[in-house]
Symmetry: C2
Subunit: 548 residues, 2 copies
């Protein structure tokens, strides 16, 4: 028996047409560095999105599901691209301007991008890539910046404002299948080629609803959100679409991501909400500690991308700003969890919940999978790899124009769940606490040893400056932990003493047998421990190992 309900697709088009009419007065405010920021109403954004679609179709020949890339900061024009490109049936491809040049070239070629919309200030980054991007036929430039850097390097170059000027402010948007591709974003794994996640109209629409649910960010047209998280990072955590759905005003920092202008825009524009990674909040805290600013308009802040140090949360609590943990990844659109505590608790009782990654919404099913593939209980103790399932969770990666979608075994389970690569525990009331990356966990005799637990315990010793623990092959146990230690100035290596010290906080079977001192822990470009370097050094016999 089928229902008698209408079969109406969930599309970005609907978000666009709704936002520009019912919430036509809401605004996107873009920071300019000038005395006054730039303000544009949702009604105007909608009209200009139509103009952009006409320009892309009629002038640049974008058709079908061709890819249109953006290399842009967070600003009003980028929001227009977010709405126009999927609504016309094409695919928005946001390029991460922090990636190395060779990865950007690989990604643009893999996506087969036809057009790149770029901000003028980013042309020095784009220009040297263009000779290596044969699919790109047009570059469309908006915002300040010297255009001449493109001379001789680019295909056809257009000024955004000139390109859209005078075109019709409405568009006969096609009725699209909700499972059609709307946007794509590549993950930049440290190993192998980047992998493309292709979001559908349906996934973006559902994710937008979830973001606006009271249990998540819960924003309305009475709110203004400061969108610091870049639009090239998982669609700015879904905010540009979610805000257009309910008329939430957007405050966009453009290229002014430094603590001083952020502090100024918060004090002047008084956003009620903000979203950014911990590093931003660290920097802002230092700024307002040196030069006090009123941040109190921000009732809530969504913080994700990395675990937030509890001390940072406490510091912001004192400023009247509540940081709320969220967990997600490119493959999860990204909203996976948010750490709103349950009801009826005191501030003190809420604390243990606030420092978790949070709870899953109904749209995200979760399970923990142990070292043997078994499903683990939610008891707050059993640690396993987190696998998730849902309508805004990736089930594959884009295989390129001629390829099948990719479903690598280490990323997707046989029954289609996403393997997040994160290891953690889930409490009986559904709160997730992540402890390790799966690749950093030591699989020893069918049990898992947390490298992070060992590192934290080691770094509590007065002689230890830094410590990194990695898995190394072991004939008997499969894997065993190798402890690499950076000693403090003047300290000498006493592995037996360190081992005894460790034994106070971890189980005996988890204690490392292999020890070495290194001058510094190798780090990635974003400052994380680069454990694959240590594993390679060990495999190549470059480390001087002491066996206890």
């Amino acid at each position: 028996m089928l229902s008698t309900m209408q079969d109406v697709p969930l599309t970005v088009t609907r978000i666009l047409t709704h936002g520009m009419t019912i919430h036509g007065k809401s605004q996107v405010t873009t920071w300019t560095g000038e005395p006054e920021p730039h303000r544009r109403s949702f009604a105007d954004i909608g009209a200009r999105a139509s103009q952009l679609a006409h320009a892309l179709r009629d002038e640049l020949g974008v058709d079908g599901d061709q890819r249109v890339a953006t290399l842009m900061w967070n600003n009003a024009e980028h929001v227009e691209a977010y709405l126009a490109i999927p609504s016309m049936g094409a695919v928005l491809h946001t390029l991460n301007l922090r990636l190395p040049a060779e990865q950007l070239v690989w990604i643009v070629n893999h996506a087969d991008d036809k057009v790149v919309l770029a901000n003028g200030s980013l042309l020095p980054l784009l220009a040297p890539l263009l000779p290596h991007l044969p699919s790109v036929e047009h570059v469309v430039v908006s915002g300040p910046g010297d255009r001449s850097v493109l001379d001789g390097l680019a295909p056809t170059v257009h000024e955004y404002e000139e390109l859209i000027a005078g075109r019709p402010t409405s568009y006969a948007w096609p009725e699209l299948d909700e499972r059609r591709a709307a946007a794509m974003c590549y993950t930049s794994g440290t190993t192998g080629d980047p992998k493309g996640v292709v979001y559908s109209h349906r996934s973006i629409y559902l994710h937008s609803m979830q973001v606006n649910m009271a249990e998540s960010m819960g924003l309305t047209d009475k709110d203004t959100t400061l969108v610091v998280v870049p639009q090239f990072h998982v669609n700015a955590w879904g905010l540009p679409h979610a805000t257009f759905m309910t008329g939430v005003n957007m405050l966009m920092p453009d290229r002014f991501l430094q603590p001083a202008p952020l502090a100024e825009m918060i004090e002047r524009e008084r956003p009620t909400h903000a979203a950014a990674v911990p590093t931003i909040w660290q920097g802002l805290l230092a700024e307002v500690t040196a030069k006090p600013r009123d941040l109190s308009s921000m009732a809530s802040v969504t913080i994700g991308g990395a675990a937030c140090p509890p001390s940072l949360m406490e510091a912001y609590d004192k400023l009247g700003v509540r940081l709320c943990h969220a967990w997600g990844m490119t493959e999860t659109s990204p909203l996976g969890t948010m750490s709103n505590p349950p009801a009826g608790l005191t501030d003190e009782q809420e604390w243990p919940y606030r420092i978790t990654q949070g709870r899953f919404p109904a749209g995200v099913e979760a399970r923990l999978v142990g070292p043997g593939g078994e499903h683990l209980p939610w008891d707050g103790e059993s640690a396993g790899e987190l696998e998730v399932r849902g309508a805004w969770i990736a089930g594959a990666y884009y295989g390129g124009a001629d390829g099948e979608d990719l479903r690598p075994e280490d990323k997707f389970s046989e029954d289609g769940w996403l393997k997040t690569g994160d290891v953690g525990v889930i409490s009986t009331d559904g709160y997730l606490t992540l402890t390790d990356r799966a690749k950093d966990v030591i699989k020893s005799g069918g049990e898992w040893i947390s490298s992070v637990d060992l590192e934290n315990a080691l770094m509590a010793h007065p002689d230890v400056a830094e410590a990194a623990v990695v898995a190394v092959p072991d004939e008997k146990w499969g894997e065993r932990p190798l402890a690499t230690v950076v000693l403090k100035e003047g300290a000498t290596a006493d592995y037996a003493a360190l081992r005894t010290f460790l034994a106070q906080s971890v189980a005996k079977w988890q204690l490392p047998e292999r020890w070495t001192v290194i001058p510094a822990v190798p780090k990635t470009s974003v400052g994380k421990f680069d454990k694959k370097v240590i594993r390679r050094q060990y495999a190549d016999g470059e480390l001087d190992i002491t066996q206890l």
Copy 2:
């Protein structure tokens, strides 16, 4: 280009499994009339929903998409039915206990219900119908009430608690197509047979998300909602499913719908939200005026089903309780609009928005259609019939087991939109104000005349106690208004004076030519003007008409 997202269906099953785990501690509190209400956790509700599904399948043989009806008050067992029946693949059919017996019989036969779950207190209503319900094989009874009234009338009778006891507390729920039927509800039109709306898993899931969005009811597990609107009225406005999705505690009045117990349950249980029709709030106001009670826990109240008198809103404002208008109907799941004012307004500026029906969410597209079928602008002045479209809006009525779905012309447009039968205007910022039922509007020479406007203007005259204006056929204009007036004690009919009085507030071409005095305006069983009686009396020549 297809997306790489997982293809996960949106189902009631997911609402059930999510609510019973992540929000297992949330509660359904059912009023009992005893010193202590009955409390049951979501975890227990979920376990019992599994037991109910096992009982329905294994003991009563419910299979496939068979219909299971409920004739129940709002209580924990009814919530269990809401979750178990759709999740097992069957269809929940809520029976409106206020309908006349012959309509209930027609509805049960049309839906071909196999099982009826009934509350003991409603058996006196059910028993006399049973001989006329050949499809009903089983009656399952819960709650207090004399079972003996079924003797000799019913097929197999089961005690709910005995039926589910000892069965497994988990169930291998099937993976269902999200467009599959989940629940059905019949509208009780004043003309013709009742019409069945069949909700899908998808429509219920999306509607639940919308209810929980901050712009709508915006509830979380920190809330308790007092669900006065019956579960047999459009799924209690979607609350039992929406609450389970985010862990909102439910306070269920069962059969205790009188003002005194409602006041007591509010004061004792301190719900943060409530949902009911205006009549309930009128009654409660009288109660707490006579015997003051603390209602202040209810930060917000959703009021719908009929327009709320502004005076009632003002009275509750003074009690610290904010009534918020919502508009919807059985065919719209029902959330169509909610009257949250836009941002940045004073209380006084908010008032004109609060008394509208409110704004549409992104999931509900709206248009106004004029007398000639033309689409009208949203200018706050052009009045047309409201038509809506969306994923939780009906596109047809159930045609019965062997019939095609019904798409009557007066209910659905050629392009599939629902004709709501409501006439109104929409402001430039998207706020809907309903003025008339389409069938009560007078279509005169290609223009519409609002019968409600004429009635309100007439009733402002000191001689007039009541007035009803109806359309009557007119050779020249198609239709013209007939004014029927009930005079106050001692007043005499002076139609010319009334016409002059009317001319002060309505356009000259709208003034009625036909007048009559009647002893009282005919009313429906729920107290609304029954204009079809007046139209029939006019057509039959029963009224003494004066032509001006």
